[in-house]
């Protein structure tokens, strides 16, 4: 887990972004690179590929007020079909990760 940094005023807020990807495994690197390039504090990234490669990515990150712009950028990545701010709270995200690890 990366410690949130920068944009300190709002760094306590958290958000979970949900992505639908045509090739989930391929999208992981592009999404991670995009977050790094735009200096977003990444808290967690969960990749849930389907049998045909399509799948979901769940991205937990600090909400510093730039999420709407980030969604535009992520949804424009080739291989990402949809990007939206998830309803999920960070605790739920961690629960999904834990379930995934247990399985």
């Amino acid at each position: 887990m990366q410690k949130p940094s920068g944009h300190a005023a709002k760094e306590t807020a958290r958000a979970v972004v949900e992505l639908i990807a045509t090739d989930a495994m391929d999208a992981v690197r592009h999404v991670a690179a995009c977050l790094a390039r735009r200096s977003h504090a990444l808290l967690g990234l969960l990749c849930l590929p389907g049998p045909d490669g399509e799948g979901r990515l769940l991205v937990a990150l600090a909400d510093d007020g730039r999420i709407p712009r980030l969604l535009h950028e992520l949804s424009a990545l080739p291989g990402v079909r949809e990007a939206r701010q998830g309803e999920m709270e960070l605790l739920d995200f961690q629960r999904v990760v834990a379930q995934g690890l247990a399985a």
Binding site: R29, H30, A33, R37, P68, R69, E73, A76
Partner: protein, 560 residues
């Protein structure tokens, strides 16, 4: 059924996408591809360095507006290409970059000439792909061209292992060549909101960048400016969106922009940004850029909206189409107070570069060369003082005729991109404005130029220093010129001769204009050397972090 190989699929894809020239260098990992290309009518331009190949392709792409192709082998070949890829991303240039990779069984073994091209290019390319099977290549190549050209253009990297190139495969049919995707338009409600802001403004201004220039929105920009009685201000990448002598063209904004423009934008109450991304070189201190203005931001890339400047209305779409939809909604009316205010600023902050009438001065040589080469000429620049001087005085008449590395600011861009521009526009003269620092960064491409015999005229401003670095050291580092002066200076006329090119040195000419004209009108390439005072600075200059109105001016203009 089509019996073929991975390499032949790539070659055939290039043909089907209208590629007739590629630039690159062969090596162990892309030999099958070069072999397959030799079976087609595609012309292979053998560059002397992969970065040169990348910029040659960029020159072609910037002139044609269509994706162009460069080739490199694995390892060092791909590494050398990286700068040109990043540069294309920064300036939204459509490229398809095909790199050879070690065979699949060797990937991950630190094999000879193996690097992770896919990983290296993720942050600097629009998209990248690693071919794992020859049968994937028809789809991947089509995707590569589609992605490179669609929406905001950019470079796409296709990394192809050597054994995938050699793999035999049977295809049912070739896929249809890629077409750029249609772009969505803003909603009528957003267009109406933008129109209302425009209609209510008293001091509007248009700021046009590379996105406006690329889509040919010039006439629409001029029409909107006419309706609003507003000036058209350009970024470095927007030069030529409207002709330099168009009455609405106010000039370039930013670090080395026109003083009157930098002042005028401080007072505008509405800014229509068209295909401009509020780059720090254009805005200076972003918080103090157009501080009183509401912003309507038109950009094909929604990710640019609100990135560097919060927009009151953000309109996503092709700038020309958005302007076409917006124009009928905007009432036309004169704004005499605003017009008068700007006229006063132009008088008070007149921009008069020194030596315009002297072909043996940097500005004078540029003006004379532009005049001799004529209105159809294309100019490429390097990066630094030569670039800023050209941006200030070269008479840009149309988009795609002033090629410069705006976003990444890559020294070494000028010469190879000029070769590409000349390849893409036969019969059109091409000038490469450069300095000794920039020229030496890709000097090896003089061999490529001499071999091709293209009408590229290198206008070299030779001052023996990294001029813009020295200038910043002068103003910002207490005059300490650390590591910005070259201890040894090449004999450029002798160097040109060694490469097999004509050369004139204006330093020793009595009739500089006549000598320049003879060099520029002769067939084939030529190098024109002008000795330049290393302490001749480019004014104005906005110090990094300052507001655009806080310009450093030449002493004789210090009041401005």
């Amino acid at each position: 059924m089509i019996q073929t190989t991975g390499a032949r699929i790539i070659a055939e894809s290039l043909v089907r996408h209208g590629i007739d020239v590629v630039a690159g260098i062969p090596g162990g990992a892309n030999l099958p591809l070069f072999d397959a290309l030799a079976e087609t009518a595609i012309r292979i331009v053998l560059a002397r360095h992969e970065q040169g190949a990348g910029f040659i392709s960029q020159g072609m792409a910037r002139v044609t507006g269509r994706p162009q192709v460069c080739l490199a082998t694995s390892g060092p070949g791909a590494m050398n290409l990286l700068t040109a890829i990043a540069d294309a991303k920064a300036d939204s240039v459509p490229l398809v970059c095909i790199t050879g990779q070690v065979s699949r069984g060797l990937i991950g073994t630190d094999a000879f000439q193996e690097v992770d091209v896919y990983g290296l290019t993720i942050p600097i390319a629009k998209h990248n792909m690693l071919a794992r099977r020859a049968s994937d290549l028809p789809r991947m190549m089509t995707e590569a061209f589609r992605i490179a050209a669609s929406g905001r253009p950019g470079p796409v990297v296709v990394d192809v292992p050597r054994d995938v190139q050699a793999e035999a495969v049977t295809l049912d049919a070739w896929p249809e060549p890629a077409r750029p995707e249609a772009q969505p338009m803003p909603s009528p409600a957003d267009l109406a909101r933008a129109a209302a802001l425009l209609a209510g403004s008293e001091r509007p201004a248009l700021l046009c960048g590379g996105g406006a220039a690329r889509c040919g929105a010039g006439e629409l920009v001029a029409a909107l400016a006419e309706a609003l009685d507003a000036p058209v201000v350009t970024t470095l990448m927007g030069l030529g969106i409207v002709p330099h002598d168009h009455p609405r063209n106010a000039g370039m904004v930013g670090m080395h922009g026109r003083p009157a423009v930098n002042h005028a934008l401080c007072h505008c109450d509405l800014l229509v940004a068209v295909g401009a991304r509020f780059d720090d070189r254009a805005t200076g201190d972003a918080k103090r850029f157009c501080p009183e203005a509401a912003v309507v931001h038109i950009d094909i890339d929604p990710a640019e909206h609100h990135k560097n400047r919060r927009a009151h209305v953000a309109l996503a779409g092709d700038a020309a189409r958005v302007l076409e939809a917006l124009l009928p909604l905007v009432p036309s009316r004169p704004r005499p107070d605003w017009d008068g205010h700007r006229a006063g600023l132009r008088r008070e902050h007149a921009f008069m570069p020194p030596g315009l009438d002297d072909p043996k001065s940097p500005y004078g040589m540029l003006v004379a060369a532009a005049d001799i080469l004529g209105p159809e000429a294309i100019v490429t620049t390097d990066v630094g003082q030569n670039q800023m001087r050209a941006a200030q005085v070269w008479p840009c008449r149309r988009p795609g005729s002033f090629l410069t590395s705006g976003g990444l600011g890559t020294m070494g861009f000028g010469l190879p991109s000029a070769i590409g521009a000349a390849l893409a526009s036969p019969g059109i003269p091409v000038a490469c404005v450069t300095g000794d620092g920039g020229l030496l960064m890709n000097i090896q491409e003089m061999a490529t130029l001499a071999e091709l015999g293209l009408p590229v005229k290198i206008l070299l401003m030779d001052n023996g220093v990294l001029g813009l670095v020295r200038q910043q050291q002068e103003f910002l580092m207490g005059g300490r010129h650390t590591a910005s002066t070259f201890g040894a200076r090449p004999d450029f006329p002798a160097l040109a001769k060694a490469f097999g090119m004509a050369c004139v040195d204006l330093e020793h000419c009595r009739d500089a204009r006549g000598t320049l004209a003879a060099a520029l009108t002769a067939p084939g390439p030529a190098l024109v050397r002008l000795a330049v005072d290393p302490d001749a600075h480019v004014y104005p200059m906005v110090p990094p972090g300052a507001a655009n109105s806080e310009m450093i001016l030449e002493k004789r203009h210090a009041k401005a």
